[in-house]
């Protein structure tokens, strides 16, 4: 089994931001030379997520509103006694999960026609890392 590892760093302008990283995942796959296997795409922070879904701006805004509804910013999370103010960002990360696996078949990301890989930043405006690990033959 071969493995190829890359790290991306994001510094978003907004507190919450959603970034289509499909092309960067595909580039890591190309660099790996792997034809059959998978790519793990995983946030390295606990206030960010990774998902596979549609690249449609209206939907992205719907998702953001929905996440704020289910895991709202609040002042009074216990976590804030540590001096943090990002309790909601942790909950949002848990809700959408922090990683996906993209299968690799015949040298290509084996995604459906509308599947795009997104990095979901829930507490940005500072450097945040993500790991892309390609594994296979």
């Amino acid at each position: 089994m071969k493995a190829h590892t890359e790290y991306l760093t994001f510094q978003t302008k907004k507190h919450r931001e959603y970034i289509n990283i499909t092309d960067r995942v595909a580039a890591a796959l190309t660099a790996s030379g792997i034809a059959e296997g998978m790519v793990l795409v995983s946030a390295m922070h606990i206030t960010a997520g990774v998902w596979v879904n549609d690249a449609e701006d209206g939907l992205i805004a719907d998702i953001d509103e929905w996440l704020e509804h289910l895991a709202p910013f609040k002042k009074d999370y216990r976590h804030h006694r540590t001096g943090e103010d990002n309790g909601d960002s942790h909950l949002k990360s848990l809700l959408v999960h922090h990683q996906v696996i993209v299968p690799v078949t015949r040298g290509k990301l084996d995604l459906g026609p509308w599947q795009q890989v997104y990095y979901a930043e829930f507490d940005g405006q500072r450097p945040k890392r993500l790991v892309i690990k390609v594994m296979g033959e």
Copy 2:
């Protein structure tokens, strides 16, 4: 590392439907000849999910009701300005995640006694694909 890839297509009768695919995942494993590794089971659409949980009809109905409560059908999702009407299906997919990994040990799916693999269709009545990728030795 060996890899074996299969695609399933579902065309459900209902808009939302939950299908136990454990036997089909096990059949793909048998066809692969792999003894140690894992099986990735991943929806190829952005309005479907895959989970591992109980094969109990009452629970399945509970899950369906719960998902409709947390990610309800609504007319006014921004996504619907594209002509779609399935905003809730995308949110339900994000909530339950679109994929699982089943470990493979000594040639068998290494699942607990009640763990069953389900395909969760949130916008059916048309052909939808899923990829099963077995990887290992």
Copy 3:
């Protein structure tokens, strides 16, 4: 590809409990001798979860309260007609997902500085199993 498999068993004192298992995942990696690859950490029960997030007690209490809010204990789940009373535990498991993949790079868990692996018990006080599967070279 090499594979190394371990099983952990938990018997929690409380009905819901959250256990940091990062050291045990790291120990399984060391035992495997694998330098490049990944570790699958997956609950073998359908009323438990596994996540990667912060080891901060206030946050853990926030997560517990939030999960109880989104997937509450109720008497009247249909699942309870089977004699069970843990419908909420299944929903909590679906919400946080039952597994994570930890990438392995140069013989170490390739986690960010605050990322810790947790076993989340939603229906404890009885023996529950989890599988750790290390795969790679």
